[in-house]
C-alpha cells in the first residue's frame, strides 16, 4: 500500500502548498506568474530535449513487428497497415496507434480453466478506459483555449458546444469532465484490483493518475460548486497568453491549487513515463515499413567484422573434402 499512499500524500501536500502560499503568504505573483512561466519553459525545453535525444540515436536495423501478411507474391492479399510496405502506410500505422490505440484493441485476458485449459477472452476495457481518458483530457485541454483567447476559433467553439450539449447544470455541464473522472477512477481501480497489476505498478504510475485526478476535481469544483469568479481568472490567463507580467487580481486559493498542480504536471512530463506521448512516434517496431528485403536499410555504425572465409575453411578441411569428392579451389 505504501506504493499507493505515498503518491496520494504527495499530491495532497502539493495541493496545500499554493493554498498556504496564497492564503497566508500572499504569494499570488509567485503562483500566478513566476511558476506558470517556469513550468511552461521546463515543459517545452524538456520535451524538445527528450525528442532530440531520441532522434539523435541511430536506428541500426529495420525491425517492425509484423502483425499481418507482408507484401509478397502479387496474388496474396497483404495487410498494408499491420505489415506496411512503404513509409506512408507505416505512418498510418503509427497514427492508428496514437489516435485509436490499435494494438491495445487486440487485448485479451488469459485465464486458466479446469482441465488445464487456457482461455483467452476479449478484454477491451483497458482499451476503452485508456481511450476515454486520453481523448477527454485532450478535449478538456483544447476547451481551456477559451481562457487564453479573446475570440474562440470555430472548431474549438464547436468542441465546446458539443461537449456541453446536455446543458443540465449552470454553467452547462461538460460530458468530458465526467468521462475523465470516471476513466481515472477506472485506471486506478484497475491497478489496485488485479494482483498482477498491483505487483507491476510503481508509485510513479499512481502519481500522475492522482495528480491529474486532483487537477480535474479542483477544476470541476471551481466550475460547478464554488463557482469561482471568472473575470479575474481570465484576466490572469490573458496576461499569461500575452507574455505579460502584471500583478494578478485576487482570484481565490482554489484556483491557485488548480493552476499549481497543472504546473507540477507540466514540469513532471519530460522526466517521467508521461513522455510516452513522444515515444509512441519513435517506436521502431511500429514506425518502419516492412520492406527490408526489398530495400536496403543502412546502419550508420555497421561494424567491420572478420569472419571465417571460405579459403580458411578449405585450408582446414581440404584433404577431407577431396576424399569425399567435393570440389576445392586449391589442390
Amino acid at each position: 500500500m505504501r506504493k499507493v499512499l505515498q503518491p496520494l500524500l504527495l499530491v495532497l501536500v502539493l495541493a496545500l502548498i499554493p493554498w498556504v502560499g496564497v492564503t497566508w503568504g500572499k504569494l499570488d505573483y509567485l503562483f500566478g506568474i513566476i511558476i506558470p512561466y517556469t513550468a511552461v519553459v521546463i515543459l517545452v525545453l524538456g520535451m524538445l530535449w527528450r525528442l532530440f535525444d531520441w532522434s539523435r540515436r541511430p536506428v541500426p536495423f529495420r525491425i517492425p513487428t509484423t502483425c499481418g501478411q507482408e507484401q509478397s507474391l502479387d496474388w496474396i492479399k497483404t495487410n498494408p497497415i499491420e505489415s506496411p510496405s512503404n513509409p506512408f502506410m507505416a505512418a498510418l500505422r503509427v497514427l492508428s496507434e496514437v489516435l485509436f490505440f490499435r494494438s491495445l484493441f487486440r487485448n485479451t485476458k488469459a485465464e486458466l480453466h479446469g482441465g488445464q485449459k487456457l482461455a483467452y477472452g476479449s478484454h477491451k476495457w483497458l482499451w476503452l478506459g485508456g481511450l476515454a481518458f486520453h481523448w477527454s483530457l485532450l478535449i478538456i485541454v483544447i476547451r481551456h483555449a477559451r481562457f487564453f483567447m479573446e475570440t474562440l476559433p470555430m472548431p474549438i467553439q464547436m468542441i465546446d458546444t458539443f461537449d456541453s450539449f446536455l446543458d443540465v447544470t449552470v454553467p452547462a455541464f461538460y460530458i468530458t469532465d465526467a468521462i475523465a473522472l470516471a476513466a481515472i477512477t477506472f485506471l486506478v481501480v484497475r491497478r489496485l484490483s488485479d494482483e498482477k497489476m498491483r505487483l507491476l505498478s510503481l508509485s510513479t504510475d499512481y502519481f500522475p493518475l492522482f495528480l491529474i485526478g486532483a487537477i480535474a476535481a479542483v477544476g470541476i469544483s471551481m466550475r460547478y460548486v464554488t463557482k469561482v469568479n471568472i473575470m479575474p481568472v481570465k484576466g490572469l490567463t490573458m496576461t499569461l497568453a500575452s507574455f505579460g507580467f502584471s500583478v494578478p487580481e485576487p482570484v481565490g486559493a482554489l484556483f491557485y491549487v488548480h493552476l499549481f498542480l497543472v504546473c507540477v504536471l507540466l514540469v513532471y512530463v519530460p522526466f517521467s513515463k508521461l513522455m510516452h506521448m513522444g515515444g509512441i512516434f519513435m517506436s521502431p517496431t511500429r514506425n518502419l515499413p516492412n520492406d527490408s528485403r526489398a530495400k536496403r536499410h543502412v546502419n550508420p555504425w555497421n561494424p567491420d567484422i572478420k569472419f571465417r572465409t571460405y579459403a580458411e575453411y578449405e585450408d582446414e578441411f581440404r584433404e577431407k573434402m577431396k576424399k569425399a569428392g567435393l570440389p576445392v579451389e586449391k589442390q
Binding site: 513487428t65 502483425c67 504510475d205 515515444g279 528485403r293 536496403r296 567484422i305
Partner: protein, 550 residues
C-alpha cells in the same frame, strides 16, 4: 515422459488445477517485485558455456561455474563493464532507449507471454522483465531515481541483479508476442538481445547458444559437422528417397555456376524429423529440375549469433553472401526456419549487403519476379513453392497425406519478424486434404512460441521448456479434441527439434512435420514406383499394396 529436469505432466497439471483461474503462482500480497528471490533449481537454467568454447570465440571470462553457485566469479570491475556496455548500447540503438523510456506499465503484455502463462512467475510478465533492466537504467539517467529508489522503482546493480537477468533473459525466447499487444510497440525481444549482449561481456552465458555459434564459425553449421560428413548425410537421405519413391535425386555440393544456392538449417540435414523436410526439398527440386547447389561451408541457415550479440550475428551471417559470391549463383533460396528468417529478412542486407553480386530473384520455372526480395536477393522456400503451385507447375496428389490430420504452427520469427502467413497455408492446403486452424488467439501474429526458441532447447532446461510450451500445446490439444488433429506442421527447425518433446509431454499422439515433408509426400514424381509409404516409411491411407484401384 519423465526427466529429472522436469516435473511429470500430472504434477504440473495438478499445479495448474490448484491455482486456476489464477495465472500467478504463489502469494504476493504486500510484496514488491524487487524483494522476490531468484532461485536456480534443476530444470530452470542452462549449462554455462565451456571454457574452450569461449576461448574459441574470443569471449571474456572463461571459467568453470554453474548458475547454482553462490559466487559466479564475475570479472573485476564487472559493474563498470555492464554500465558502460549499457550506455554504449543506449547510444547505438534508439529502440533500446525508447523502450526504456516509454513504458507506462499498462499491463497489456502481462498475460501474453508463454513463459508467464506456463510458470506463473511474475517476473516473466514482459513488463516486469523489462523493469529488471529499467530499474538499473533509471539510476543512470535520473537523479531523483537515485534518491527515491522505491518511489521510482530503481535499485543498485548487484550480483543478485546479474543472476536475475541471467534467469529471466533466458526465460524469453525473443518471440515478440508481447510487442504485438503493446500500445507503445515495446519489443521485449530487443531488450533481451541487449541484455544477453551485456551478460556475454562478463562471461554469463549459455552453452546451448555459444557452442553452436562456435561450431558454426568453424565448420559452417551449428552441429559442427565437417564437410565430408555433411555431404554423406545428405547422400544417405538420397538413398532413403530412392527406397520410398524409386526416384534417384542428385543434389550437388559447392558447385560453381549453379543458378541458385540453397541454404537451410543444419537440423534438416541431421535431426529427426528435420531430415524428412530435407527429403521434401530434394524431391521438389528434382521434380522441377532446379539448377541449384548446397554448400558445405555455408551449411547453416540458423544463426545463434542472434542470441549472443550483433557482432556474432553478423559474423555468422556473412558466410551466406560470401559463399554465394564465390559460387557465382544468381540468388539464394532459404529453407524452413524461424530465427534464420528474422536474420535474413530484417538484418542480413543491412549487416552484410549490398548484395550487388547477385541478381534480383526470378523463379526459373514460372518467371515470377520476387520483388519483395529484390535487394536482399534471398527467397523463402514457402514463397517459392506457393508460386510454383499457383502456376500449376507441380503434380500433386494431396490424398497421399490423407493419413495425416494437420494443423499449422506459425513460427514466431516468420510471423512477427517477417509477416509471412498465407504462403505456408496455401502450400499446405494444396498438399493435404485435412487442415484445421488452432484458435485465433494462438495463430498468425498471435502465435505462441514452442517454448524453446532463441537457444533454450537444452535438455537441462526441460521444466521451463514444457511450461513455456504449454500455451502452444494447449491450442494443439484443442484441435486434437475437436477435429482429431494428429499432425502439427511447422516451418521452423527449432520447432521440429522442440515440439516433438512438447507433444510427448502434453499431447501424446501428435507428430511434428515440416511443411515440405508434406510437399514431398504429395509430389507425383516422374518415374516413381507405386507409392505406399510416406517419407517416414509410414503407410499412407488408401495406398495399400493390395489396393488395385489406385
Amino acid at each position: 515422459m519423465s526427466n529429472k529436469y522436469a516435473l511429470k505432466p500430472d504434477e504440473l497439471r495438478k499445479e495448474f488445477e490448484q491455482k486456476k483461474p489464477r495465472l500467478l503462482k504463489g502469494e504476493f500480497a504486500g510484496k514488491d517485485w524487487w524483494d522476490l528471490p531468484v532461485e536456480f533449481r534443476d530444470g530452470n537454467w542452462c549449462f554455462p558455456a565451456k571454457s574452450e568454447v569461449l576461448e574459441d570465440l574470443h569471449f571474456p571470462n572463461p571459467r568453470k561455474w554453474s548458475a547454482t553457485d553462490k559466487d559466479w566469479q564475475l570479472p573485476a570491475g564487472w559493474e563498470k563493464i555492464i554500465r558502460d556496455g549499457m550506455r554504449d548500447r543506449l547510444k547505438r540503438f534508439r529502440s533500446f532507449k525508447v523502450f526504456m523510456d516509454s513504458c507506462v506499465r499498462c499491463g497489456a503484455c502481462a498475460d501474453k507471454c508463454h513463459f508467464f502463462l506456463g510458470t506463473g512467475d511474475p517476473k516473466n510478465m514482459p513488463v516486469m522483465r523489462a523493469e529488471l533492466v529499467r530499474s538499473i537504467y533509471r539510476q543512470d539517467v535520473n537523479a531523483f531515481a537515485r534518491v527515491l529508489t522505491k518511489f521510482s522503482g530503481s535499485r543498485k546493480l548487484t550480483p543478485e541483479v546479474i543472476k536475475e537477468w541471467h534467469m529471466y533473459f533466458h526465460q524469453c525466447t525473443e518471440c515478440r508476442r508481447c510487442s504485438v499487444f503493446c500500445p507503445m510497440g515495446i519489443d521485449t525481444a530487443e531488450i533481451t538481445m541487449m541484455v544477453r549482449e551485456l551478460l556475454n561481456l562478463i562471461g554469463v552465458n549459455n552453452n546451448w547458444i555459444l557452442a553452436p555459434a562456435a561450431n558454426c564459425n568453424r565448420t559452417g553449421n551449428h552441429l559442427g559437422i565437417e564437410p565430408h560428413t555433411f555431404e554423406q548425410n545428405i547422400m544417405s537421405l538420397v538413398d532413403d528417397i530412392e527406397d520410398v519413391t524409386g526416384v534417384k535425386v542428385n543434389p550437388t555440393f559447392n558447385r560453381k555456376g549453379a543458378e541458385i544456392l540453397f541454404i537451410t538449417p543444419s537440423g534438416d540435414v541431421f535431426a529427426d524429423p528435420g531430415v524428412y523436410t530435407m527429403m521434401g526439398y530434394l524431391l521438389l527440386f528434382h521434380h522441377i529440375g532446379l539448377d541449384y547447389t548446397i554448400s558445405t561451408y555455408a551449411s547453416e541457415g540458423g544463426n545463434f549469433g542472434m542470441f549472443t550479440s550483433n557482432e556474432m550475428m553478423k559474423k555468422i551471417n556473412a558466410k551466406m553472401y560470401h559463399e554465394a559470391k564465390r559460387l557465382g549463383v544468381k540468388w539464394i533460396l532459404g529453407g524452413e526456419c524461424g530465427h534464420m528468417w528474422r536474420v535474413v529478412h530484417q538484418y542480413m542486407n543491412t549487416m552484410n549487403g549490398p548484395a550487388d553480386f547477385l541478381k534480383e530473384p526470378v523463379s526459373p520455372i514460372t518467371g515470377t519476379k520476387f520483388t519483395n526480395a529484390k535487394a536482399t536477393r534471398m527467397v523463402h522456400i514457402a514463397e517459392f513453392t506457393a508460386d510454383l503451385i499457383k502456376h500449376g507447375k507441380l503434380k500433386l496428389d494431396p490424398k497421399r497425406n490423407d493419413h495425416l490430420r494437420t494443423t499449422f504452427h506459425d513460427s514466431c520469427n516468420v510471423a512477427r519478424g517477417m509477416g509471412m502467413f498465407e504462403e505456408p497455408r496455401y502450400v499446405l492446403n494444396n498438399v493435404c486434404n485435412v487442415f484445421h486452424e488452432m484458435p485465433e488467439n494462438t495463430i498468425r501474429e498471435q502465435t505462441f512460441c514452442c517454448g524453446s526458441g532463441s537457444g533454450l532447447n537444452a535438455e537441462e532446461f526441460m521444466d521451463i521448456r514444457m511450461r513455456g510450451g504449454f500455451p502452444r500445446a494447449n491450442a494443439v490439444a484443442y484441435v486434437k479434441e475437436k477435429h482429431k488433429v494428429d499432425s502439427l506442421v511447422t516451418i521452423c527447425a527449432i520447432d521440429r527439434a522442440s515440439l516433438p518433446a512438447l507433444m510427448r509431454y502434453w499431447n501424446p499422439g501428435v507428430t511434428v512435420y515440416g511443411l515440405h515433408e508434406l510437399v514431398g509426400n504429395a509430389l507425383i514424381m516422374q518415374g516413381e514406383k507405386k507409392r505406399t509409404e510416406d517419407l517416414r516409411e509410414n503407410p499412407m491411407a488408401g495406398f495399400e499394396e493390395d489396393d488395385d484401384d489406385e
